[in-house]
Every structure is written in structure tokens, then in C-alpha cells.
Symmetry: C2
Subunit: 195 residues, 2 copies
């Protein structure tokens, strides 16, 4: 069944621009009008493809995170040591920033006006990256590279730091930011205590 309409493409463009705007300006700070202008389609047409603003964001976040997880699963086997995986992850997070959407998800979830089912879905968002981080740390324990007493806490802090660094993607020079991503892994690995 061939389609000559190219509605899917339009939907993709709207989704892409919306994700960008949400990442930069937050949920409340991004209007449908903004999305309309950035995508080049009318405001009314955004509603042809997406039920409302909240559902649009949830779709973006869920789909983005799913794609993120799949992409990481694809490249992860290329790195053999836990140490390498950790450095690779830091670069991966920087170049495939779904994490701003995580923060925006927190913003939405914190708003009392947000529907409970949406909040529920948003809380599940962080599971994908956290699981990926946790897997690396566990792998490092198994290979004897790492010594970690509190896996969950370590995972959480690592994710928190990487996520926070992503906030600077739109404002900081790429090379400098990349250095900071590397350095956070360095710090996690070795600390600063004199030995």
C-alpha cells in the first residue's frame, strides 16, 4: 500500500523542532506558536499530528529515549573494558543528548496541573539511561576493574553529573564541554586524594 501523501515527514519535522525547542526553553517556555513557526507549519496543523502539548512532549521524550537506548546498545559492545565503556558513554551522552528532555520531564512532572498518567510515564523515563550506566558499573565490578560498595548511588550520581553537563550544550563551546565530560569520568575513576 503506497502512500503519496508525505504526512509522516511533516510529523517528523514538527517533532524534531519541538524537541529542540523544549530542550532549549523548557516546557512552559515553549509555545505551540513557537513550534509552529520553527517547523514552518500552521499552529492548527500541529494539532493534526499531536493531540495536545503534553502528549506531544511525552511522545518526544519516550521516543527519544527509546532511540537513545537502542543506539547505545548498538555501539556498547565495541568497548571492552568498563573504563572504556564509561568514557564512551560520556561522549555518547554528550552527542546524543536526550538528557535535556529528562530535565524538562522533571519540570512537567513537578507541575500539579500535569495529568497523573503523564507523570507516571515521565518517571519511567530515567530508567533507560540509569540501567545503561548501572550495567557499565556492574560490568566493571565483574571484571575486577572497579570497587563499588553502593552501586545504585554511584549510578545515580554519574547520571546526575552527565545530565547536568548536558545543560551546557547550547551555550558552551563543544571542545571545552567534551573536556568536561572526559574529566568527570576521570574524577569518578580516580578522585583527587593524594596517594
Amino acid at each position: 500500500m503506497k502512500r503519496h501523501y508525505d504526512s509522516e515527514e511533516t510529523r517528523r519535522i514538527i517533532a524534531e523542532k519541538a524537541a529542540q525547542l523544549f530542550s532549549q526553553k523548557g516546557f512552559a517556555g515553549t509555545s505551540i506558536s513557537d513550534i509552529s513557526k520553527a517547523s514552518g507549519f500552521s499552529k492548527g496543523h500541529v494539532y493534526y499530528h499531536f493531540e495536545n502539548k503534553e502528549k506531544l512532549f511525552v511522545y518526544l521524550a519516550l521516543d527519544g529515549m527509546r532511540a537513545w537506548g537502542e543506539k547505545w546498545a548498538g555501539v556498547s559492545p565495541n568497548y571492552k573494558t568498563a573504563r572504556d565503556k564509561l568514557y564512551a558513554m560520556s561522549t555518547f551522552v554528550m552527542n546524543n543528548y536526550q538528557t535535556p528532555l529528562l530535565k524538562v520531564g522533571q519540570e512537567l512532572a513537578a507541575n500539579p496541573a500535569t495529568s497523573p498518567e503523564t507523570v507516571q510515564q515521565l518517571y519511567g523515563l530515567a530508567v533507560t539511561p540509569m540501567q545503561a550506566y548501572s550495567d557499565i558499573f556492574q560490568y566493571g565490578i565483574d571484571t575486577g576493574e572497579f570497587e563499588i560498595d553502593d552501586l545504585q548511588g554511584t549510578t545515580f550520581l554519574f547520571g546526575t553529573l552527565l545530565g547536568a553537563l548536558c545543560q551546557h550544550i547550547y551555550t558552551m563551546e563543544h571542545g571545552q564541554l567534551h573536556g568536561l565530560f572526559r574529566k568527570s569520568v576521570d574524577l569518578f575513576l580516580s578522585g583527587i586524594l593524594k596517594r
Copy 2:
């Protein structure tokens, strides 16, 4: 010269509630109406004390950060080693969270509609805490406790992590969050590599 008017008090109440709301819901997500309801004063009255929403936020951020800096300067001498200072700082940041306002400041500064002078002022916000962190690390180097090749980067990452942890103040249980603050210092100090 005694004053029987107590306008200063209402101004303080409005400022306090506004800071709380901005921290929780962000700049765009907080309306003057919200602030009016939370403080118990009319919407118009908010404008009697503050010129507009933007100026209100800038005042809150600047004043809050100034108070934060003074308070830390007051307690800092109680801790003798750099290590102790670092742990003390993590607790201090958690209990005197001005850092959510830092994030909201980023949100405001990222918005093209924000006036340039406001953006300028907001960029200066992070200087106070960063200087405080940097002082601790430098102190640790001087006492021989720490070995740090990139002071600025280390400072930035430490501030980033603490700031990000503050985001969970309204959603996470206090004791658990406190554990994470402690643990981030642990990690910065020692890392996870097996020795």
C-alpha cells in the same frame, strides 16, 4: 526614626514565596498570579514592591546568592581540613539551596526575550559559589591534602554535581538526598578504581 508601616515585611513575604515558586516551577512556569496567591497579597500589590517579573527574579537571585556567600563565609572557618570543608559545603548547599535559582537563571538567560542587562547580571550569579568551591580545592592543594591538575575544571564539575542534586530537594526524601550529597564528596575524593 521608627516606622509603623510594615511594608518591608510584606515585601519579604512576597520575595520568599516567589523564590520558592521559581525554584519549584521555573521562571516561565511561575505566574505573578501564583505569587500573589501564595503570598496572600493582591497581584497589583506585587507590582508595588517589584517593577516587573524579570526584575523580581533578578533581585531574588542576587540577594539570595549574596546571603548564601555571607553565611558560608561565616561557618567556613569552623572546618579545618579541606576534606572537612568539602563535606561541610555539600551539606551547606543542600540546606541553603540557592542553586535551583541558578538553574532558573539559566532558563531566563537562555530566553531571547530577556533583556541583555538581566542576562549579564545572571551570568555573574555563579561566581559566588564557584569561588567558594575553588577556595576549598585550593586550600586542599596548599595543605597537601589534594592533588589537582585542573583546578577550574574540578571546581566546575563539583559545582555542577551539587547543583544538580539540589534539583531533587522537593521530590526526594531528606535523609536519602543527604546521603547522596555525602557520597558525591566521597567519589570526588577517592574515585572507584581498585588500588
